[in-house]
Amino acid sequence: MSPQPVKPAGAIIMDGLWYDNPIFRQILGICSTLAVTNVILNTAVMCISLTLVTALSCWTVSILRDWTPRNIRMMVQTLIMAFYVIIVDILLKAYWPEMSRNLGPYVGLIITNCILMGRCEAFAISNPPGPSFLDGFFNGLGYSSILLAIAATREMTGMGTFLGWPVPFFSGPYWDKWVIMVMPPGAFFTLACMIWLCRSIWTKEKVPAQTGGK
């Protein structure tokens, strides 16, 4: 915890969204959310929950950073995350029970999503609350944007719809629906292609070395 100058907000936002994007750059947190990317609506709900939980727990961890004993900080962080996840879970159950059923255990699995722990450990534990909140929020957004792109690809090619509405070309008779895209293997292939695409762009851009979550 060396005292370091706080990064400007713009840099935090750009890092979270692109240069230090949790998915490409750090390969974090793909576990718990990939499974819900076959339908855009589910993904959107999951992404909103994840972004909120990440931002709020980073903020809380940052507020408590001076009072948290160092050797039990992991446990404290986990409990903070679990606290917010429980709130999200209860809200979903109360106001949108069918979505809660669709998402199944994946809302609860936000707790073990590595992005959360990664951001808390890498940023929130040594920075003031404001920037930590921003960092968590934009890392969540960066993550969500990729997942939404994956979900859009999968839903469009696999079912010919976008948010449940038929898309002109893909739902027509000239498009054979790629059933494999809505099944688990489709998620792996789409994510791999996304990573390929973004990494290829990076090598051209020559991004300066960044410090990742882990």
């Binding site: 793909i30 718990s32 073990t112 590595c114 293997p185 290829s200």
Partner: protein, 199 residues
């Protein structure tokens, strides 16, 4: 007696289902992080896999007991995330200490993997699936073991393939995680073939 036989049969079916048709890694994407990062060598993959099988079997059973004997009577079901995480973390810590004390050799083999497991989503995921699918106690034992075994099988296969890949010429942007995900996709494709073998 018939009842128990039926339960045992269901347990065996669940065990096979969770290894093949419902593989926790290839169909529900749990435990991906360590799957991508620890599958470079067969030896380490085997160590991590063994640790996952062991921890997953015992923690799902412990979590079942805690959920149905503590949370359900108290109507505190929404508390399960915290309880499961604490049980898993405490159990892993405990096992680490016991192994360290009684079998330093095993500790050398498994020791470094145990802390990693606490944050492995597959362990928590198995416990949550167990609650959502309302498994009975006996079926839970089969499920925990099967899910762990399925995960171990997948990571072993992946490590074997990746070892051969070191000489291959992979496009630059695809190196590392990219190619791993493509292989995982193909493995998942193969496992889709098992669908329908069991109900």
């Amino acid at each position: 007696m018939d009842n128990i036989n039926a339960e045992l049969w269901l347990m065996v079916v669940t065990l096979f289902a969770s290894v093949f048709t419902n593989n926790i890694l290839l169909t529900t994407f749990l435990g991906m992080c360590s799957f991508v990062s620890v599958s470079r060598e067969v030896k380490t993959a085997a160590g991590l896999g063994a640790a996952v099988v062991f921890v997953m079997t015992l923690t799902t059973v412990l979590n079942w007991l805690a959920y149905y004997y503590i949370l359900v009577p108290l109507h505190l079901e929404f508390f399960r995330f915290i309880l499961f995480i604490i049980i898993i973390a405490a159990f892993v810590q405990f096992v680490e200490m016991v192994i360290d004390r009684y079998s330093p050799k095993l500790y050398m083999a498994l020791g470094i993997f145990l802390p990693l497991i606490t944050v492995n989503c597959a362990i928590l995921g198995a416990a949550l699936f167990m609650v959502i699918r309302q498994y009975s106690f006996i079926v839970t034992i089969g499920y925990g073991f099967g899910a762990g075994l399925g995960w171990m099988m997948a990571i072993l296969a992946m490590a074997g393939i990746r070892q051969r890949l070191t000489e291959a010429r992979v496009p630059r942007g695809l190196r590392g995680p990219g190619i791993t995900l493509i292989i995982a996709g193909m493995m998942a494709l193969a496992f889709v073939g098992f669908t329908g073998v069991l109900k």
